[in-house]
């Protein structure tokens, strides 16, 4: 009903090719502020590429991206961060041989002293990372452990904690529960609900239709590099979505 101001994100006709592979053929979708917006689609549909364009990892070849109503051109993930966008990548983007706290603070280290004597405040970063992990009640062990030594669920929790710590505006998650067991999936979903309660907008890519039905307010369906459909989640069933993802529904139109 209201204008475009309550749209956190608007993606219009975004295209992206890698050599002769066209990953996005003009994708259009939007995400409302304060909601959970889901993207579903088969493998290779272009979901990850789309969110990498929004997170500043890729520069789109064409189209427009607006954040809170303003057009943006991200040259690097740092630009997206400056607009309050944090991303949990599908591969998590963790440096395995660094510790949990070093990953949480990677490229945002707390420092003291004037250049060139600027040194990292290791103790402060450790303490804050520990506090964060405790507050989020996520299943992360000692923050001094190297990421390499964590389980899949713990690594996921580290990546999500990092995103949530640095933005309370907009968090994008690419298949955050794909590698997790039942209990860990529940923990991640509970965390998503908590950050939405505190006012963070969430854009989530998921393969799990039930999860999309449980968590999201809006769902977009991608196929072949395009967004082929969008619904208020309350107005569709999981079965409808399955049909749309596989393309079976196309025949009905």
């Amino acid at each position: 009903m209201t204008g475009t101001t309550d749209l956190k994100l608007e993606v219009t006709d975004v295209t992206k090719s890698f050599g002769n592979v066209t990953a996005l053929r003009g994708a259009t979708l939007s995400a409302r502020a304060g909601e959970v917006t889901a993207i579903i689609g088969d493998n290779g549909a272009g979901k990850s590429t789309l969110i990498k364009c929004v997170s500043g990892y890729h520069a789109p070849d064409g189209g427009e991206i607006k954040v809170s109503g303003k057009p943006v051109h991200f040259g690097s993930p740092l630009d997206a961060r400056h607009h309050g966008i944090e991303t949990v990548y599908q591969d998590l983007a963790l440096a395995d041989q660094l510790s949990v706290w070093q990953n949480i603070y990677l490229n945002r280290e707390l420092t003291a002293g004037p250049w060139p004597f600027r040194v990292t405040r290791r103790g402060a970063m450790r303490a804050k990372a520990r506090e964060l992990v405790g507050d989020l009640a996520v299943n992360v062990p000692e923050v001094t452990k190297t990421v390499m030594r964590l389980s899949g669920g713990q690594r996921q929790a580290v990546a999500i904690s990092r995103a949530v710590m640095w933005s309370n505006e907009f968090v994008i998650m690419d298949e955050p529960t794909a590698a997790l067991g039942l209990r860990e999936t529940q923990q991640v979903e509970a965390l998503i609900r908590r950050i939405v309660e505190r006012g963070t907008s969430v854009l989530i890519i998921s393969h799990n239709f039930e999860q999309v039905m449980r968590l999201s307010d809006q769902v977009w369906v991608m196929r072949g590099g395009r967004v082929v459909n969008g619904h208020r989640t309350a107005e569709v069933t999981g079965a409808d979505l399955v049909a749309e993802v596989t393309g079976a529904a196309a025949e009905h139109f």
Binding site: S55, G56, Y57, S76, P77, L78, R81, T87, Y89, D91, L92, A93, L94, A95, D96, Q97, L98, Q102, L106, N107, E109, T111, R118, V119, T120, R122, G134, D135, A137, V138, N139, P141, E142, M148
Partner: protein
């Protein structure tokens, strides 16, 4: 809040409660993680004790100080090499960079530029080659072996062309003092190298750049996703490697009293050996500065000790080669 049991305790108590502390010790002593850190110091201690027993003149102040001074160049090159290897790279050009820097130092000094300017010339050569290596590895994206092999040939050729292959004597009172005088029990050149090692240690462990170098070596994708400027960080790593080669050129001149136009390629072998011995992951992302420094010291101790117990100098290369292979096998790690 909802975090249940502390997972820290869980993991250790399940496995170690019923076993004795000897079991824990045994596990530590057989773990790869322990040996990647401890190989250099433990081997150094063993070599020290063994040679002290085998050679009567080994454990004397004169010999120990001599070895520390001898280790100056290998340590500089090893810690420099470490900054390329932690990026999952290598710098094969170090020895010829050293040669070229020494030649230009000699020319500058011979032309009456004075010690400080000549020193800066050598430093500039090191930095320049580092930028070149970093440019080809990080921006043109040629594999590190090929990039640094190319600059190796280039620098080796340039130093021979310019010098006609003839060493120039350099006799400077300050350099002589650094080479042979001591402060307390230690020779100046060792103390200066020790200071450089400490500075690089602080850089690696207590600055954002240090973490970023390790992150890029660990995962370029993750680093890019976190907004790190990967190419720039690679260039910085290679610049540090080159800079150490430039400083090593000065260390060599004050050590032998002349320039050295012909690249001594043993230096690269030794630097790689020390880097691996020091627990640096050849796949990048894991490194210390003190490990390779101790590794270089160990190689110097082995070399001196072998000579003192009467092993022919010809064996030295073969021994270092074996040490590289053994250490790399022990520490080949995951990934």
């Amino acid at each position: 809040m909802t975090t249940t049991e502390s997972p820290r305790k869980e993991a250790s108590s399940v496995s170690s409660n019923d076993e004795s502390s000897r079991g824990t010790l045994a596990r530590v002593l057989t773990s790869q993680e322990f040996w990647t850190r401890a190989a250099a110091p433990v081997a150094l201690a063993v070599a020290f004790v063994a040679f002290s027993i085998a050679a009567p003149n080994f454990f004397t102040a004169v010999n120990i100080n001599g070895m520390l001074a001898d280790a100056a160049i290998p340590i500089l090159l090893a810690v420099g090499m470490t900054f390329a290897v932690m990026l999952a790279g290598i710098d094969l050009s170090q020895a010829s960079t050293l040669a070229f820097a020494s030649v230009l130092f000699g020319i500058a000094y011979g032309a009456g530029w004075g010690l400080l300017l000549s020193f800066l010339v050598a430093v500039a050569v090191g930095v320049g080659v580092g930028v070149l290596n970093g440019f080809f590895v990080g921006i043109v994206r040629i594999p590190d072996m090929i990039s640094t092999l190319g600059t190796m040939g280039l620098m080796m050729g340039l130093s021979l062309i310019i010098s006609r292959g003839i060493p120039e004597p350099v006799s400077d009172p300050v350099l002589r003092t650094i080479a042979s005088d001591s402060l307390g029990p230690f020779r100046w050149n060792f103390l200066i190298v020790l200071m450089i090692v400490i500075v690089l240690h602080v850089l690696l462990t207590h600055t954002p750049l240090g973490t970023h170098l390790l992150a890029v070596g660990d995962s370029m994708d993750a680093s890019k996703a976190m907004g790190l400027r990967v190419s720039r960080i690679k260039i910085i790593g290679y610049v540090i490697a080159g800079l150490m080669a430039g400083l090593a050129a000065v260390a060599l001149i004050l050590y032998v009293g002349s320039t050295q136009p012909a690249a001594n390629t043993d230096y690269v072998l030794k630097a790689v050996a020390a880097t691996v011995l020091g627990g640096t992951s050849l796949f990048g992302g894991r490194a210390t500065v003190w490990g390779p420094a101790l590794g270089a010291l160990l190689l110097t101790v082995l070399q001196t000790g072998m000579i003192m117990i009467g092993v022919e100098a010809f064996y030295e290369q073969a021994v270092i080669g074996i040490v590289v292979l053994a250490a790399a096998t022990l520490m080949r790690g995951r990934k």
